[in-house]
Amino acid sequence: MKASTNATPVFRRDGETWAAQPESQGPFGGMHGGAVAALSVGEMEAMAAARGLGALVSANLYLLRPLPREGISSKVSAVREGGRVAVFENELWAGGKLQAKASACFQQPLSVEGLPGAPEKTVFEPETFVKWERPEFFKAANTNQGFLDLVDIRDTHHEDGTRAKWFRLKHPFHDVPTPFSNAMAVADVSTLFTVTDAGERPNAGGWPNADLALHLSRAPKGDWIGVAQRGSWHDDGRGMTESEIFDVHGRIGRSCQSVVLLPPL
C-alpha cells in the first residue's frame, strides 16, 4: 500500500525527535493508534529496506500511553539478526516515559517450488466501491477524527457476504515506501468499524485497543488495503477485534487487537 499522492509525509524528523502532522491525531487525545503503528513499525521497515534485511512479515504494537504528536524519541534495537530471520524492536518515548513498543519480524526470501507466487489477477476494484460515510451517532460524538481524514475509505460487501472497508492513503507516512506499516495503520481502525457497521455504540465509554498485531503472508501490492473486521466483546469489559486483510489481488493476512471496554460515562 502506498500513498496515492506525493504529499508531505505525516512524520518528519526534527533533529533527534519525530514530529507528526495533525492528521495523525486520534479521537481520545494523543496520536491515533494507527499512526503510532505507522511511526514505530514504519521506521523499522524503512531501516530494514535500506539494510536489505528482507520482507517485513509480522509486527506487534503495544499502545502503552497516549503518544503526543511532537517530541517523540525512538529507540530501534536488534533482538535477533543474521540468517534468514531478523527481529527488531522500536520503543517510542516522550516526556521521559515509554509510550509505545513495537516488534517486527523480517524474512529473507527463497524459492520454493510448487507454492503460489505473487498474484497478477485483480480480484477487487475498490475505486468502484461507495465512499464510507460516518454514521450520525458517530459524527456527533467524534468531531476531531484527524486520522480518518488521512485516508480515502470505501465500504463494500465481498462476494462471500463479508463486509469490508477499503483504504487508500492520501499522504505517505514516511519519505520512503512503507507498505507493511501502511497496512498495519489502517488495520488499527478495525474496532471502530465493528461499531459503525453495527449501527450502534456499545454500552461503554470507549473501546480503545491495547495492542495491534499484523501477520502478512506476502507483501501488499498497490495502493488499496481491504479490511474485513469482526469484534467479540463480553460483559466483563474484555474483547478482541480481528480482521482479514486484503489487497486488490486477494487475501494477504490478518490483524488482531485486544480491546478494553471503558465504563459508561
Binding site: C105, G117, D197, A210, G231, M240, C256, S258
Partner: protein
C-alpha cells in the same frame, strides 16, 4: 536431560507438571521435547506466556487479553530462566515483557502479554456474528485421535497432548481439539493452556490440507494469541488456515474455541526451511 526414555516416565504417571522450578531456573522434563530436537514450540510459548500470567496474578493485574511469543533460537531441553519486566501497569491494563534465557544467558525467546482487570459492563454483547461452523457440541473425547508427530521411540510433547479431529459436513478435517494430559506448569495458566493448543495451527493446517511442501520444514517464528473470554473446560479447538508463498514466506492462523464457542484467535509467522 534429553533422552529416549520409555513412555512410562515416572512424572507422566504422577501427573506432575512438565516444567518445575525450585527457586531457580525452570527444569523441563523429557516430555517438553519436540519430535525433532530441542523443546517443543508450544511448550516454550506456554512457559513464556504462563510465566507472565503468574507474574500478573502476583501483581493483581487481572486476566489475560493477549500474548505474543517470539521463538528466537531453538530451546534446549535444559534449565531455563525467565526474566519479567513491567512495560506498563495502569488502573485497568498492564503489559509485561518476558525474556527466556538459557543458563549461559543467551536469549531463547521473548514474549509480551496484556492483562486487564474485568469490569462489569452489563448489556455488552458481540457486535458482529460469531461463526458457528462446526458441530462442536459433541464431546471431543469421542472423536478420532490425531496421532501425528508421536514417535514411539522418542518421548516428546505430543505424547502428553491428546489431539482429536472433528470433520466438517463435507467430511474434511475441520476442527482439531486438544488437551494436555499433564499440566505444563506448576500453577493454573489460561495462556499456557491456549498456547499449547494454538502453536499447532501450522501442523494442523498442513496435515488437513495435504499441502506439505516437499523437503521443507515450516517452523513458526512467532505465535500470538488474542482471547476475549476464558475457555470453559479443558478442550481447546483450533480451526486452522494458512497461506504459504513461493518466497518461503507464510502465515498460519486459527480460530480458537471451547465447547461453547469462539474464545480467540492465534496467528503465526511461518518460515519455510529446506530440510537436510
Amino acid at each position: 536431560m534429553n533422552s529416549s526414555a520409555p513412555a512410562t516416565h515416572a512424572a507422566a504417571e504422577t501427573g506432575a507438571p512438565i516444567f518445575t522450578r525450585e527457586g531457580g531456573p525452570w527444569l523441563p522434563d523429557d516430555y517438553a521435547a519436540g519430535p525433532f530436537r530441542g523443546l517443543y514450540g508450544g511448550a516454550v510459548a506456554g512457559l513464556v506466556a504462563g510465566a507472565m500470567e503468574e507474574h500478573a496474578v502476583s501483581e493483581g493485574w487481572g486476566t489475560p487479553l493477549s500474548a505474543t511469543v517470539l521463538m528466537l533460537r531453538p530451546a534446549p531441553v535444559a534449565p531455563l530462566v525467565t526474566e519479567i519486566t513491567t512495560l506498563q501497569a495502569g488502573r485497568r491494563n498492564a503489559v509485561a515483557e518476558c525474556l527466556l534465557k538459557d543458563e549461559a544467558g543467551k536469549i531463547i525467546s521473548k514474549g509480551h502479554a496484556i492483562f486487564v482487570k474485568p469490569d462489569a459492563m452489563p448489556g455488552t454483547r458481540p457486535l458482529t456474528a460469531i461463526p458457528t461452523a462446526t458441530n462442536w457440541a459433541g464431546d471431543p473425547a469421542t472423536l478420532p485421535l490425531w496421532a501425528n508427530g508421536k514417535r514411539p521411540e522418542h518421548v516428546n510433547f505430543l505424547h502428553i497432548l491428546e489431539m482429536r479431529e472433528e470433520r466438517d459436513a463435507t467430511g474434511k478435517p475441520g476442527m482439531r481439539w486438544s488437551r494436555m494430559t499433564r499440566p505444563l506448569l506448576p500453577f493454573a495458566s489460561l495462556l499456557a493452556t491456549l498456547f499449547t493448543a494454538a502453536d499447532n495451527a501450522s501442523a494442523f493446517w498442513l496435515s488437513s490440507s495435504g499441502a506439505w511442501p516437499a523437503n521443507f520444514g515450516f517452523p513458526n517464528v512467532d505465535v500470538s494469541v488474542h482471547v476475549s473470554r476464558a475457555p470453559q473446560g479443558e478442550w481447546i479447538g483450533v480451526t486452522p488456515d494458512a497461506q504459504l508463498h513461493e518466497t518461503g514466506m507464510g502465515m498460519s492462523e486459527g480460530a480458537l474455541y471451547d465447547r461453547t464457542g469462539l474464545v480467540g484467535r492465534t496467528c503465526q509467522t511461518n518460515i519455510l526451511v529446506p530440510r537436510g
